[in-house]
């Protein structure tokens, strides 16, 4: 199939199979390796990206679902060499260890803040419930998202 969609605000046209996973399109066809594969079945959340501003598992999203839609990956958050507030807060709050869950975690947090700019710690934990982190106990991650929400002051 001919696929026309947007990745990080750029128009992309690809000749691909309708059943090809978005994860493979991003990592292999477009070289966007910031999106990670941890379980291949939507359990770990490492492959989370935004599809029209909603968090989805790119390992469970197929090419056929993408026509005309907007995909945002972790690479799309940094603007002009400057990290997004969420990314910076993850760094500064020491919410990053091995980093394999980080990009998916940040994308889920991004989706949350787009929907709910002032989440409570409980709402943050719920929004991140599909993202597994094995290195931490989520304490710094929740703090990072909380602080990012404060710093953004409602602007995402």
């Amino acid at each position: 199939m001919k696929l026309d969609f947007f990745v990080n605000e750029e128009a992309v046209t690809l000749e691909t199979q309708p059943q090809r996973r978005l994860l493979d399109i991003l990592r292999e066809d477009l070289g966007l390796t910031g999106t990670k594969e941890g379980c291949s079945e939507g359990e770990c959340g490492a492959c989370t990206v935004l599809l029209d501003d909603l968090a989805v598992h790119s390992c469970l999203t197929l090419a056929a679902q993408l026509q005309g839609r907007r995909v945002t990956t972790i690479e799309g958050l940094e603007k002009n060499g400057e990290l997004d507030i969420l990314q910076r807060c993850f760094v500064e709050e020491i919410a990053i260890q091995c980093g394999f869950c980080t990009t998916g975690m940040i994308m889920s947090a991004k989706a949350l803040l787009l929907q709910n700019p002032h989440p409570t710690p409980e709402e943050i934990r719920t929004a991140l419930s599909g993202n597994l982190c094995r290195c931490s106990g989520y304490v710094q991650i929740v703090k990072a998202v909380s602080r990012a929400a404060d710093e953004m002051g409602g602007r995402v």
Binding site: G34, E37, E41, Q97, G99, L128, C135, Y138
Partner: protein
């Protein structure tokens, strides 16, 4: 100190946040083939034929490798040191398969999708053999062929002097049984191998815990000179012990050499869960004898352990367990009897803590039961029996040094409101028809190095660049917990340089000095100390060169930040750059230092954890309401990272205590999906509190540091398990305490 003890984001946090950091699975090389595996579908049997014709007919398939068309390369996945004489029991491609998930064939193709499609087309026929899936079946030896014994290792070990009189002692016996655990490092196992047939050089890139260990195994297996096998440690997406056994590297090496092109082998989650390694199952009966006042007098342990499909490290693991028993409590006499069996299940092996967490589950379960039998407060019972400064580890004979378990208990009990919580639980339970609450404590000890089990040392080299910044060559293996940053901080502190002036790359056998790898929590304590000493040596070298430049002696000079000043001429200041230029331009040499550090101590390092849980007696579900971990860490190098690691260990411990288990079904299939293996996620956990006690400094660690990565996991599952038993007034010893097991206990014992 201005850097050590101040929290810093780890060295690659920014790259990881941006999605730019490259992990091994992100690497692409020209002409690279992708490899997919064919795993055994039977738990025990002989491969009688492999028909790859359909697979090879697919466009883009480069080759299918299996035991009938590839030289019989064998290795030992546990071998991590050149001097270990372990039997190479494991073939790269098995002819006799020993568990569902054993490697049968590898398919290489132009892309992963083609490789996987081709792998599904490989037809394998088996001649099944009887299989053992449980302890009982393994003990019966139903899977043994002629000449094989069901007991693969058995020993009795006695430490200390038996009590002269058993009369008047109170004996408490507890049964503990542990299930299999999955490490669940978020990054699956992967290796990129590149073979240069013209130079006969092999390069392996993987997230691993010992580049030199892999080099030993792969070079010996292929009959190559060690110097022609290069192993590079890539950014690691977590390990927890799973990446210290070689499973993907030997396969990738063989396929790359056969194909004469680079290959990438990535396991998916199912393969990682089934075919790599798990924390093996154990069954234990432990008896402690106490004086009526709660003083522990002796301990008996009868342990049965299952190695799984291959023996791998299981024999060493259970030997180590005996030593780990004596790292926390004063045990005047300990006797252990251990038996090891081998079944047709996933391979048991290294798991964070390397038997300390397992033995802690046994010790703390028995201790918990003893507190009830003796009618003593669990904190008081532990206070009476924990090892104190000045005492020795009776197994190793080494001093515990400034161990702070007592202080951990006292501080924790106060911060956790121990007495109040226990009282409130009792009132809550009396009033609640459905929910039960329990508060419990657990202690656990670990080590900081292999020593004295093996001689342990590390080497470090440094060179000062022309501008005074410093390059460090050291074989670190960062698991993702920021070893790289910790080392930059240690070196920067010693040289009084900003962290950005220190460059440090991870282990690479082509460039960094020999090292045993990241095991036994030795990273900071051993290798970090070597880095500190090397930095101090470089400082001496700076003074020597500066003295030559100023035509004086080093004792007339002193450091003022990253510059050298003269006691005799206050107006003179030499920057590191000035000194480096003088060395290069006038003395015709580079400013370098080389240092090694051989360890001679292994101080006591312990943690004390407090858990408060609520059990739903209608569903068997347990919620962790509150948690405090107190750790005796010596000097923490990067405190917030230490706390984060401890919280991660608590997350893992809560899972291990309540829900995580790889189960084996009657056909030998094991749990191989995260949909069925439940990790604790963000809503499952409370805001885990951490306290670090930092005055119990080690003599040998850098700035007094002790270990944290593994010891943090030791008391976690025991604390949660004890809290559940406290809530229910039960004596469950089967871990994890899943809802089903809790409901079964309630049905049997009542609430």
């Amino acid at each position: 100190m201005h850097l050590v003890g101040v929290s810093h984001p780890i060295q690659d946090a920014r790259g990881k946040a941006a999605g730019r950091t490259r992990y091994a699975a992100d690497l692409v090389l020209p002409r690279m083939a992708h490899v997919a595996m064919v795993f055994s579908t039977v738990p025990h049997g002989y491969v009688t034929s492999v028909d790859a014709s359909q697979a090879l007919a697919l466009e883009g398939v480069y080759g299918v490798f299996h035991c009938f068309n590839t030289p019989e390369y064998r290795f030992n996945r546990y071998r991590s040191q050149y001097s270990q004489t372990l039997i190479p029991e494991e073939p790269v491609f098995a002819r006799r398969v020993r568990f569902v998930g054993d490697r049968v064939a590898a398919v290489a193709a132009r892309d992963l999708e083609t490789a996987r499609r081709a792998a599904a087309l490989v037809q394998v026929e088996y001649q099944p053999l009887p299989c053992a899936l449980t302890f009982e079946q393994a003990l019966e030896g139903i899977n043994c062929l002629e000449g094989e014994s069901p007991i693969r290792d058995e020993f009795t070990m006695e430490i200390g002097t038996p009590p002269s009189l058993e009369e008047g002692l109170i004996a408490v016996t507890a049964h503990t049984e542990l299930g299999r655990l999955h490490h669940a490092a978020m990054e699956p196992h992967v290796c990129v191998a590149d073979y240069d047939p013209d130079l006969d050089e092999l390069t392996l890139r993987s997230p691993n815990q010992s580049v030199h260990g892999i080099r030993t195994v792969v070079a010996d297996m292929l009959g190559m000179p060690y110097s022609r096998v290069r192993v590079v440690k890539t950014t690691m997406g977590g390990s927890f012990g799973s990446k210290q056994e070689w499973t993907v590297e030997p396969v990738a090496a063989v396929v790359a050499r056969q194909l004469r092109r680079p290959v990438k082998l990535v396991y998916d989650r199912a393969a990682v869960m089934r075919s790599i390694v798990c924390r093996g199952p154990m069954r234990a009966e432990m008896t402690m004898r106490f004086q009526p006042d709660g003083t522990l007098v002796s301990l008996d342990l009868d342990l049965l352990s299952d190695a799984g499909g291959y023996i791998a490290n299981s024999s060493d693991y259970v030997h180590t367990l005996v030593g780990k028993m004596f790292r926390c409590y004063r045990i005047p006499y300990g006797r252990t009897h251990v038996r090891l069996v081998s079944s047709n299940t996933p391979v048991s092996g290294s798991f964070r803590g390397w038997s300390s967490p397992e033995v802690a589950l046994m010790l703390e379960h028995t201790m918990e039961k003893a507190a009830r039998v003796l009618d003593m407060d669990p904190v008081q019972l532990r206070l009476k029996n924990v090892l104190l400064p000045g005492e020795r580890d009776p197994k190793s004979g080494l001093p515990m040094e400034e161990v702070r378990t007592r202080e951990c208990l006292l501080l924790g009990a106060e911060r956790f409101c121990w007495t109040e919580k226990r009282r409130e639980d009792a009132a809550f339970n009396a009033a609640s028809p459905r929910f039960r609450r329990g508060t419990a404590v657990a202690c656990g000890g670990h080590g900081n190095t292999y020593y004295p089990r093996y001689n342990d040392f590390a080497g470090v080299e440094m060179r000062m660049c022309e501008d005074g910044s410093v390059q460090v060559e050291v074989s670190i293996h960062d698991h993702g917990c920021g070893t790289g940053m910790a080392f930059q901080m240690i070196v920067a502190e010693a040289l009084e340089l900003p962290i950005q002036q220190i460059r440090l790359k991870e282990a690479d056998t082509a460039h960094t000095p020999f090292d045993f790898g990241c095991y036994a929590s030795r990273g900071t304590f051993v290798v970090g100390r070597a880095a500190q000493l090397c930095a101090l040596k470089l400082r001496d070298e700076i003074l020597n060169v500066a003295a030559q430049k100023l035509d004086t002696t080093p004792d007339r000079l002193y450091f003022d930040g990253p510059s050298v000043r003269s006691k005799d001429s206050p107006e003179i200041t030499l920057s590191y750059k000035d000194v480096s230029w003088y060395a290069l331009g006038t003395l015709c040499r580079e400013l370098t230092a080389q240092e090694k550090h051989a360890v001679r101590s292994n101080p006591g390092v312990t943690g004390t954890h407090f858990a408060h849980v609520e059990v739903d007696t209608w569903t068997g579900l347990t919620r962790v309401l509150d948690y405090l971990a107190v750790h005796d860490i010596g000097q923490s190098i990067n405190p917030e990272m230490c706390a984060a690691q401890v919280q991660g260990a608590v997350q893992m411990g809560c899972g291990a205590a309540l829900r995580e288990e790889i189960e084996i079904s009657s056909n030998g299939q094991s749990t191989c999906s995260l949909a069925k293996y439940h990790l604790m996620n963000a809503p499952d956990l409370p805001d885990i509190q951490v306290e670090l006690i930092q005055d119990g400094r080690s003599q040998e660690g850098p700035y007094g540091a002790k270990s944290i990565g593994e010891v943090s996991f030791v008391p976690a599952a025991p604390a949660v398990a004890a809290a559940v038993n406290q809530a229910l007034g039960s004596d469950m010893g089967r871990i994890p305490m899943t809802p089903d097991r809790i409901m079964e206990t309630i049905a049997k014992e009542g609430r």
